[in-house]
Amino acid sequence: MVQQIIVITDGCSNVGLDPVTAAAQAREENIIVNVIGVVDEGDFGLRGTREIEEMAKAGGGLSKIVHSKQLSQTVQMMTRKTVVHTIQQVVNEELQHIIGSTTSLEDLHPNQREKVVDVIEDLEENMLLRVVLLVDASASMKPKINAVEDAVHDLMLSLQAREGKSEVSLFHFPGSKNKNEPAEMDLDWSTEYAIMKRLFYKINMRGATPTGPALLKVIEYMVHKHSDDEIKRLAGMKDVHKKGAMLSDYIV
């Protein structure tokens, strides 16, 4: 299973827990944090960039900076790229268990490599994927929110095409209904694309940017709240382990 949070922000948090700390906590829970930074040019942007990079580093993921000028298409491309990267990262860890941590792909004879890569691709395509998109909807993000919405739709489209299951959930921060909520859920675990349409109309732009607390809330959600299908899957966990063992035999 691959679990990841994609934070889309301009990186200028100003309330509560340091988002870098929160990201490190996510990593401890086996959740990878990727950050898409949508920044303006200038000093403000520079500060944001630093926070974005450190957050991704602490969360074991990638950070991608997009300047507001080149928005829509690039946010989409970067979002897709981070998802693919995270899947590859997790599959690679799995691979190390199988071929041993001291062996790398290039040590294998091209013929063996062929089989290993076939297995990698199967895993990439079929592994269960859980993605939470956490969108910064504070006032400074206002001019960029349409591009973010396009990117969310685009990502859903890519995830839906996989043979394996992809569950997506969507949050924005700060909360717009309750002022004390660091983040508010827009979409509970879902595999549906249709529900996502025109989602961001609900977002109310406000001043504070509680990135750290929002991230913390999402981590808690990922750890404790599972979709109905996922609950069934967890109940059948033992079978999954058996399958894992078979896979190892197959490769070695």
Partner: protein, 304 residues
């Protein structure tokens, strides 16, 4: 689901550079850089007094994945039509690079070919692309990243598809695509690998080749199938192919075979009537010669 983009690796191997494969010990000599794809560089190399194409990958896994696809396709080709030669590694400045060797195809990309040989080749080149797609689809693969740069046209409009990085088994998610050719980008369908995905990209390719669609100044408001169709309808070169393009963009062809048949039918339709209906003033003086050219095209088409 990755997007095609230009690689950023700047190392270029110079002419005469010798490479010996680590595993298979074959010797290759670099002639020149042929091009730069999404996932690496392609060189022209000498091996056994013959020329071949060598692709050096940036990422091991994606290169190997490409090799896997090529080998699977290769198995199904006639002995004299094999495309795959070898795959191996070499070391340079302490770093290991993986590469594979393929048959070298001489030609121009589709746009350059039409620019230098004339737009009258468009229908035949289109048919030949569809033929190639149909062959691939029969092997249960979808090409995925179909675009002008990946279509090499040789003499008499013969078509070869290059760059197998996007080739995906049917039913999976498209491995690699270029946004403007992507059905999902135009909000006109999924990113699942099915025959209609390639046919959609093919329609976009036609729009670009005829100049009906330009890659620059595309905004997200314009993203829809109806916008694309509107562009096609205003272009004189697309006119005859409208029934095809409409179905291709809407995904209503049930198979590539059907798409190919429709293309062929329209291609052989009343050519004279159609050439008269192109109402561009600058074309009138050239009309006589264009009819001549059309006759020649049809003649060629029957032969090849």
């Amino acid at each position: 689901m990755t997007t095609s983009y230009k690689s950023t690796n700047t190392t270029v191997l110079h002419e005469g550079f010798k490479i010996q494969g680590k595993w298979n010990k074959k010797n290759y000599e670099i002639q020149r850089l042929l091009g730069e794809g999404t996932s690496g560089k392609v060189y022209l190399v000498n091996y056994n007094q013959n020329v071949f194409a060598m692709k050096i990958g940036l990422d091991e896994i994606s290169l190997q994945s490409e090799i896997n696809v090529i080998k699977k396709i290769n198995k199904k080709l006639e002995p004299d039509k094999k495309i795959f030669i070898d795959s191996d590694d070499f070391e340079l400045n302490g770093k290991i690079y993986s590469f594979y060797i393929m048959k070298y195809i001489q030609g121009l990309d589709a746009k350059l070919f039409l620019n230098s040989n004339g737009q009258q080749w468009f229908h035949l080149v289109g048919l030949n692309i569809l033929n190639q797609l149909q062959k691939l689809h029969q092997m249960n693969f979808i090409f995925g990243d179909l675009k002008i740069e990946n279509v090499i046209v040789s003499e008499f409009g013969k078509v070869t598809l290059i760059d197998y990085g996007g080739v995906t088994p049917k039913g999976r998610s498209i491995k690699q695509f270029t946004e403007i050719y992507d059905r999902g980008y135009w909000i006109n369908g999924t990113r699942k690998a099915d025959e209609a995905y390639d046919i959609f990209s093919f329609a976009i390719l036609c729009l670009i080749l005829t100049g009906a669609l330009s890659i620059s100044n595309l905004t997200s408001e314009k993203r829809s199938g109806s916008y694309l169709l509107k562009r096609a309808k205003t272009n004189p070169h697309c006119k005859r192919m409208i029934p095809f393009l409409e179905k291709a963009l809407n995904g209503t062809f049930s198979s590539t075979r059907c798409a190919r048949e429709e293309w062929k039918k329209l291609m052989y339709g009343n050519g004279f009537e159609n050439s008269n209906s192109i109402e561009l003033p600058w074309l009138k003086p050239a009309l006589a010669s264009s009819i001549f050219v059309l006759v020649v095209t049809v003649y060629f088409s029957f032969i090849y």
